[in-house]
């Protein structure tokens, strides 16, 4: 396999990329000037080197060289955030969306994924062990907000996590809550499901 084909193979592993687009990526790079290609090549290595996983919430973050704290992200180490409220999200992009909305002032825990309905080794797919440790050792915690997708995989994951941490939760008297259900922006009554409608009626205001 020559260099072009090897490159196509690596691009094929990118999320959502098929063989045709992988090839288009490779040709695209050939048409770019050296400065673009060298920047891309370097940034890929640098990103992997510079960006760390937060010891506390497990999201990816770039440590601030001037900061004393190098293993925790700027959210986890921010004293003005409410450290007693922990939001559970599946992925870094979910955390970013919540941050962008500017409506949440607590801290996070990134599970690292969701659980397919039939999954033999859930502890390999999501950071359930890390979460247990965190909940057990965190003395400030009073509420965990489950912010997972409102689809079967998200709900399955939520249930698995809730069952797994329930002994600690009870022992430490921590409240569990779930993001409210109702009409999402753009939702049309004609296409709504009974569950959403029931929640929307209950949460009417």
């Amino acid at each position: 396999m020559n260099t072009l084909e090897k490159l196509v193979e690596l691009f094929r592993q990118f999320p959502g990329i098929g063989p045709r687009q992988a090839r288009r990526f490779a040709y695209f790079l050939l048409t770019r000037d050296s400065s673009y290609v060298n920047s891309l090549s370097s940034l890929i290595r640098e990103a992997k080197k510079e960006i760390k996983k937060c010891a506390s919430c497990h999201r990816f973050f770039t440590p601030n060289p001037k900061s004393k704290i190098q293993d925790e992200c700027e959210i986890c180490s921010d004293d003005t955030r409410e450290q007693n409220t922990l939001m559970l999200v599946a992925r870094d992009v979910d955390l970013e969306m919540v941050e962008k909305s500017g409506t949440y002032r607590g801290v996070y825990f990134v599970l690292g994924g969701t659980l397919p309905i039939l999954e033999d080794s859930p502890e390999k797919k999501i950071r359930i062990k890390n979460l247990e440790l965190r909940v057990r050792n965190d003395r400030k915690l009073s509420e965990i907000i489950f912010a997972l997708n409102a689809n079967p995989e998200g709900e399955h994951t939520a249930e698995f996590v809730a069952v797994t941490i329930s002994p600690i939760i009870k022992e430490k008297n921590i409240k569990i809550s779930y993001l409210g259900r109702g009409l999402s922006t753009g939702a049309e009554l004609e296409y709504i499901d009974p569950d959403t409608l029931k929640s929307a009626l209950k949460n009417r205001a």
Copy 2:
């Protein structure tokens, strides 16, 4: 224009039907046996004749020949429904979805449509006059639930209706509420808008 072309023209006025599908409908009828064609032709006339608009909620309904009440639908004339709660919906199909969900025990008012953002004669597009009359004269009313689509046209319609009926509402001390916002079934955190997220956080439970 011959009969086939005339028929195609009428089918083109069906909601969501373009010239190609209108033509396919016409040919489809030619291939069906007489019994289907005659049934369809008769039912179209009968439906128009038999089905009435409810004097109370304005939905389409088929009067029960054995019933004493002929001008009100079976929901409006049902004493076991909560007559003090009125749900405002845009169309008959919306009402049907809410009924199917089995989660609502009050009564309805069908506006007959929604208002485009720039609409010169709103009173021609929706039954705002009928609604005003209904709210003014209904002595049992204590709450009106706005159940309109969570999109710009739905929100614009809600605002217009709320402003229009606000004097009567205040005078009679009737509560106005809106279906709760939050994660619809299937919603994914990665694609959520800040408004929905804010409501989902507030309505967490």
Copy 3:
């Protein structure tokens, strides 16, 4: 089942129409004035009564009351058309597209459908018996053009027809031809299949 539900059931049988759109059609009719509804109801019956199948090509057509010929369509009975060239199409809409293009001056035969790959009774799905009769008895015929879809079902149908009529064809020395393959309008080289490319190369001009 009441009149509305019966009407919805009939609309559900329309090609490409699901339960939701069938219901929308029924409500649409209720909102239309009597003149529209009565026209539709009448035209549906009239179309079925007035429109005949051509004895020669089997397409649907409206007999011209002033014409002496009442059982043949205006194409089949047109002396200026080339009666020695017969184009085989699957459906009336295909014939209409060819007529609209204005590029064909011969006559047609409408098969009435195509054959699914595994079809037990092909003679019930397409007018193969009528075609055999036509080809056997038509003294002017010198070429049959197969104008079927360039997809598996179209090709399967073409093959079945070709095999079935091959004895008569040979006996009467009639030529069989197929619409040329190549780049359709809009085709892109990047997505082309080898067969199309091969034909396009061969038919280059």
Copy 4:
């Protein structure tokens, strides 16, 4: 802008990639092991270094270190290919599709793109100057096959090229041909345009 954001910016320039997928690519790399990341980083540089443009057809190719010819690709330097037939394609991927089909034994010229309908500097978008040179100096050439997309941009490009090279073509008595038009695989009669139908009828066989 930190390393992650810079990387997202570069991925956004990939063909067909929006901000959301660019970000997903960046996070994807963070989750991969060092071996994948280092391979990708290296291959991107190597591809740019190793892969050359063929001096003859202008496609990208990897020179064979054992070959005496280092500036021409394996197709152009292959004596068994018909050097008198030149196929004009827009992009490398088009050339690859034709090669994959195994139906063409001549050589190629890659234009490097197509011309938008309103393009001020066509000579900057496609290799028209290189093509003129090639056609003028190539003594073996007897036919040029235009293999461009059957869409407005492809046709516009073909016309521009044909007009530009017409003096040389006439002088040297070279034939110009175009890929044949007709039914592409999958084409349905009901949706066909008059031009395609006309060609399909003409090219029937």
